[in-house]
Symmetry: C2
Subunit: 270 residues, 2 copies
């Protein structure tokens, strides 16, 4: 089901600036057992991303109601919220009156092999390097051609995710996930001040670490460092956490981090 500005619809106006320029932001949320996970954090992140783009954010109760409506009768689903700068005439300048558009939709949760959840995943390195753009870094905006190009690099159903580096070779993220690694003592996650999306699940993992007395550092991470980590993990709102078990020649045995992180996420899912 799709709600466009609150009304059931299958289309958006052709002059939407989201279509013209990618001028907007989005979120993807999980509904499990009829419960919408981490809504407040998801909304806060959307509001923060829209603020960075100078797009007025829809009111929280309005969006929450629309999310509930598209998810009704679907206890297990994914909900996507797109907010754009609304309609505009040709040209990059903001419209004189901005009336943001809301496109809220639900879909089936992606079906991943049980082994990816239970045992972990195989990942590859993408050739595409993420551009360094601090003005947009961290924001889940609608300019996602880099992710599209990177995801098109492989077609092997055994590969769960592609790892992305910036032009200096720092590991930034997966195409659709954030990354954590550990040496057994502390957690490390890549610095996203130059590129990448700072996801809500990444924030929740960092918060879980704090709550559980585990140090988590945000810093530059090289591919070599990742390869020699004791454990590597991918996270996002739909998958929760996957352990990385194979990356090129590197393999990892079953670890304990992913289960711990899943517990942290379960503790703070509202």
């Amino acid at each position: 089901m799709i709600l466009v500005n609150g009304t059931a619809a299958t289309s958006v106006t052709a002059d939407d600036r989201g279509l013209a320029y990618g001028d907007g932001a989005f979120r993807t949320l999980a509904v499990h057992g009829g419960r919408l996970l981490a809504w407040r954090r998801q909304f806060d992140k959307l509001a923060s991303d829209l603020r960075a783009l100078h797009i007025p954010c829809p009111q929280e109760p309005l969006l929450r109601e629309e999310v509930a409506e598209v998810a009704r009768g679907q206890p297990e689903c994914a909900v996507k919220i797109i907010v754009t700068r609304g309609s505009g005439r040709r040209g990059y300048a903001h419209p004189s009156q901005v009336a943001p558009h809301r496109i809220v939709s639900s879909s089936m949760l992606p079906q991943y092999p049980a082994a990816w959840v239970n045992d972990g995943v195989t990942v590859r390195a993408c050739a595409l390097r993420l551009a360094w753009q601090p003005a947009l870094a961290g924001i889940k905006h609608l300019n996602r051609l880099e992710n599209v190009l990177a995801r098109a690099e492989w077609n092997d159903a055994e590969i769960a995710e592609g790892l992305l580096q910036d032009c200096s070779g720092n590991v930034i993220s997966g195409t659709m996930t954030n990354i954590f690694m550990t040496d057994g003592a502390e957690l490390v996650t890549p610095d996203l001040s130059g590129c990448g999306v700072a996801g809500v699940t990444r924030d929740r993992v960092m918060e879980g670490a704090r709550r559980n007395g585990v140090n988590c550092r945000v810093r530059c991470v090289s591919l070599d460092e990742l390869t020699s980590a004791r454990e590597v993990m991918l996270v996002n709102s739909l998958i929760g956490a996957w352990q990385v078990r194979r990356f090129g020649a590197a393999t990892w045995g079953p670890g304990t981090l992913t289960e711990r992180v899943r517990r942290w996420l379960d503790e703070s899912d509202d």
Copy 2:
């Protein structure tokens, strides 16, 4: 008027990947005196940009007919063509079957002050720096948030354009224009291998220079160099060419380049 996949419409499907990810490319064309300018070059550039994104390009006769239809009865107008990867489910992976969407629309030509055309324009430097992304450089794709952010930096109706630099300080382009400068002997235009849009009018100016025995070099250009050039000029398909007369503390008297370039463009407008 808007044609969506050949049918008069005002909306596009909400699952369009152009909206979801900016997954597509576009062109803006001028119609003057009922004539569509530089169609073949515009089509070739669209085809080349779509090829770079691995999006199948619509057939030329089909697009040409749609452009003619939206421009009918409007001897002076702007035509915009958007081609996206079409509908897709959630997720960055290409749809298994790609059926690109065509959104072809016409609008009034932008009304700029006559003085901008006759005497030249005032420009400013944007604070936003363009990201270096060779995988997307030159392509007029739908990921245009950088242009949107840059254009939002000023609201002074006297300022015609904002100049954009890359993160190394090289001048790349205006927010909606390409740049040429001259020392009186040869032309120079910024190298766009790392960022920027390599526009059709830029190509036509370079071709006009060749045809008329003027050397044109494509290379890195600093802001200081631009400021000390004998003449500076902005070009795109809708404005043709504007001379830059003021940029910060730098001013230029009336030059001869813009008129010469307009003649070159008139010689090759089909």
